[in-house]
């Protein structure tokens, strides 16, 4: 055997077939044909070369400084149906060669690499898709819960409100007991709705903690004041102790901290029949790094002397829907969500929650949380924010003009009921469009507006009212949104639309009156004005005042229509008659209206007309 044959045999065994290019499209196999080389011409044997040879020819004609031009891998089925993998290389030197290589190992390496990249990419797509689906599902669930919460709150608003109004009426002892039960169960139901909503928010990661300065002792006291009512009713003593080393003013979410304490105290009250409840706050002994000057890691313990928790349930009581014993739900009530919500809130506060208990002699629920320590300036803010203590807010004895927009007749009836002892004048409308129309005709001291209404919703109506105020350079009217949406976004939506504040239904009488009290500037509201008139005039003053009230509408129409002559005439008439009937202010305002109409001073005309309207709304004849 000659050397070339041996060489060819060796190359073939190694997986190479070497062809010398003897001319364009003409190739000569060197040595023996390897057993993997198919029969036929080169391109019949390897159809892939149909696309590679033109590139190889280009290379051989113009190799530049390259000595080799490789092809991609290709796969084709060989004898016996076995898949074989190949690659080709054009070589250029003194002679030109085409090397076809049967490449198992290199192909497998390249494939593992690509396979890994593709598998990873497909897995990434799958994860992204799943996460999107999960997000959508969570979103849908949140929307469903928000919607349900809205649907439940709307009738509860009327239900609880009516019970509250009924409570204020003359009732027999038996009736009073019925109403008391009705109110208490209503409160329970509302707590359950709130728990479910809170839980869904926590679950969807929608709760963001506030970072505001607060007085820790105030929060503990508030929680004890609220929870203490029931505890004391059961004959339990209630104590609290805040270690002196604990900073007085912290920065964090006082509302959520109070919620945790209230929940733990509520449970403690539920499961304790005699003895005491106590709250302890101390620096967290597990966090010695906390300096208590800028950063405070605190340990809270809410302890009771109740039935205790069995040892095997201590770790599961913080799971959702898991009360230590299903029978507890029947006996003590509750959704079993409170502890689960508390656990998530504590975690958001950078802490942990756990339970310790000696069955039969009591339990302690411990939690830790981290806060920043409030600087002096922010500590002052915390005190400013503290609401003034009042037993029961009472509406000022003023004749406020209120525009009330709610499509639910029973809710309008409720608000009217809440304000029935005040001198307020309430205009009721059942949609946003009517509210806007009224708002343009009349200056109101406060607008109470529902969010979702037919024709025009409360948000759009509020926006239009704010735009109207701007156009007419009017001072902003307090607009309070009264909605059954309890999510924070709902509040943001109201404020974004221009509402002054957002009250969530069910609305308590005290909450409503307090809000009106807070947002209606005293100067805006005119006290009720008592005027005594001579007895012979009494039969006619009613008609006189009624006609002047009619003039207000005429004046507004004339102002809108630019009919200053009409305004001047009406002003002149009032100036001439008011004093004669005993209403000196009508004469004064009439003169101002007449003068401003003469001067063409629209701003003054508008102010005077509103002054007249307010005076007419407040004046009462003795």
């Amino acid at each position: 055997m000659n050397a070339a044959y041996n060489q060819g045999f060796l190359l073939g065994a190694l997986g190479y077939a070497v062809f010398e290019r003897t001319g364009e499209g003409s190739f000569q196999l060197l040595g023996q044909s390897p057993d993997w080389l198919p029969a036929g011409s080169l391109t019949e044997a390897f159809p892939f070369l149909d696309v590679f040879l033109p590139d190889a020819e280009d290379f051989w004609k113009n190799p530049g400084n390259r000595s080799a031009q490789p092809s991609d891998f290709w796969t084709q089925t060989g004898a016996g149906g076995i898949e074989l993998h190949f690659s080709a290389t054009a070589l250029s030197g003194k002679r030109r060669f085409l090397v076809v290589e049967c490449v198992e190992q290199r192909f497998q390496q390249a494939q593992s690499f690509l396979q890994y990249a593709h598998d990873a990419s497909l897995a990434r797509d799958k994860i992204a898709k799943l996460s999107l689906e999960l997000e959508r599902a969570t979103q849908a669930k949140s929307e469903f819960l928000a919607r349900m919460s809205h649907e439940i709150r709307t009738p509860m608003n009327a239900l609880l409100g009516m019970a509250e109004l009924l409570w204020e009426t003359e009732l027999s002892g038996e009736q009073r007991e019925y109403v008391r039960v009705c109110r208490a169960t209503g409160d329970n139901l509302l707590n359950i709705v709130n728990d479910i909503l809170d839980f869904s928010k926590v679950e969807a990661g929608q709760i963001e903690l506030e970072k505001i300065a607060f007085n820790l002792a105030d929060i503990v006291k508030e929680a004890l004041d609220i929870a203490g009512v029931r505890a004391r009713a059961k004959g339990l003593a209630v104590n609290s102790r805040i270690e002196p080393a604990v900073p007085a003013y912290l920065v964090g979410d006082p509302g959520r901290l109070r919620q945790i304490l209230l929940n733990l105290l509520g449970n403690a009250t539920k499961f304790t029949d005699r003895g005491e409840l106590s709250v302890l706050v101390e620096p967290d002994p597990g966090q010695p790094g906390s300096d208590l000057k800028s950063d405070a890691a605190l340990h809270f313990a809410v302890s009771d002397t109740g039935v205790g928790i069995p040892a095997d349930r201590l770790s599961t009581i913080f799971d959702s829907f898991s009360q230590a014993d299903a029978s507890i739900t029947r006996k003590f009530g509750g959704t079993g969500l409170g502890l689960s919500i508390s656990k998530r809130l504590v975690e958001l506060m950078g802490g942990t929650i756990w339970a310790e208990s000696v069955p039969g002699s009591g339990s302690s629920i411990h939690f830790t949380a981290r806060f920043s320590v409030a600087e002096a300036a922010r500590a002052a803010e915390a005190d400013v924010r503290k609401p003034l203590e009042k037993a029961h807010p009472l509406l000022r004895p003023q004749a406020l003009r209120i525009l009330l927009a709610d499509d639910a007749q029973e809710n309008r009836f409720l608000v009217r009921g809440y304000l029935k002892d005040s001198a307020c004048i309430i205009d009721e409308v059942e949609n946003g469009a009517l509210a806007l129309e009224k708002f343009k005709q009349q200056v109101y001291d406060v607008v109470l507006i529902d969010g979702e209404m037919p024709v025009l919703d409360g948000y759009s109506a509020t926006r239009a009212m704010r735009a109207f105020e701007q156009e007419h350079a009017q001072a902003p009217t307090p607009i309070l949104a009264l909605t059954a949406h309890a999510l924070r976004e709902a509040r943001d939506r109201s404020l974004e639309a221009g509402c002054t504040d957002h009250l969530t239904k069910p609305i308590r009488k005290a909450t409503l009156i307090d809000a009106i009290d807070r947002f209606v500037p005293i100067s805006r509201a005119v006290d009720r004005i008592q005027v005594s008139v001579e007895s012979w005039l009494k039969p006619v003053v009613g008609g006189y005042l009624e006609n002047r009230r009619g003039d207000v509408a005429k004046l507004r129409a004339a102002l809108n229509g630019g009919d200053y002559a009409m305004i001047r005439t009406l002003g002149h008439q009032m100036a001439g008659t008011g004093g004669a009937y005993g209403f000196e202010p009508i004469t004064e305002i009439g003169s101002t209206i007449e003068e401003s109409a003469l001067a063409g001073d629209t701003d003054r005309m508008r102010t005077s007309i509103e002054d007249l309207d307010r005076y007419l709304s407040s004046v009462r004849v003795e």
Binding site: P47, F48, D50, V51, P54, D55, D72, F73, W74, T75, Q76, T77, E83, H85, S87, F107, A110, Q111, L114, Q115, A117, H118, D119, S121, L122, D125
Partner: protein
């Protein structure tokens, strides 16, 4: 016998290799094995009265690392744009490839294939969007076998009619 080169193109993992496997060997494998370079298979078919050998060039799916080598389409009579109905991105990729191929090789006959019809409930690709392109479109399932043969034969038939038109110049 007449030979026609048909290229399978599309994003990786859309089922190009599985479609060929189903058509040539009537087999489907659940295991995803990515194609490296080009996989060449052949199948003799009869379309009407004509017999033709289809040379099926299954080109590695394009990804971020390996762009499609358009020179592999050299000499092709037509191509199949394969889309995974479950992945909207694969339709986008198919549209982009069609533009690139048309720019490089001129107007070649092709069909659009929406594969994985067995998972139709999970499809992201919407029929209304697909129909906007006005391309000959087939729904296939390499797994269940539905639509696969019809699709290949329809393309083969259209290649032969192109062929016939070329061979019978208008008088």
């Amino acid at each position: 016998m007449l030979k026609k080169k048909i290229c399978m193109v599309g994003e990786f993992g859309v089922g190009k290799t599985s479609l060929v496997r189903r058509f040539v060997d009537s087999i489907f494998s659940e295991r995803y094995l990515t194609t490296v370079g080009v996989k060449i298979d052949r199948k003799d078919v009869t379309v009407g009265s004509a017999s033709v050998t289809l040379m099926l060039w299954d080109l590695a799916g394009e990804d971020e690392l390996t762009p499609l080598n358009l020179s592999h389409l050299r000499g092709a009579s037509g191509y199949i744009l394969v889309v995974d109905g479950c992945r909207a991105s694969s339709l986008k990729k198919a549209v982009e490839l069609q533009q690139r191929i048309a720019e490089r090789l001129g107007p070649l006959p092709f069909v659009l294939v929406l594969n994985k019809a067995d998972l139709r409930d999970l499809w992201e690709v919407k029929d209304t969007v697909v129909s906007e392109y006005g391309w000959p479109t087939f729904e296939t399932s390499a797994k269940a076998g539905s639509g696969v043969e019809e699709m290949f034969l329809a393309l083969a038939a259209s290649l032969l009619s192109v062929n016939a038109a070329a061979e019978d110049p208008i008088e």
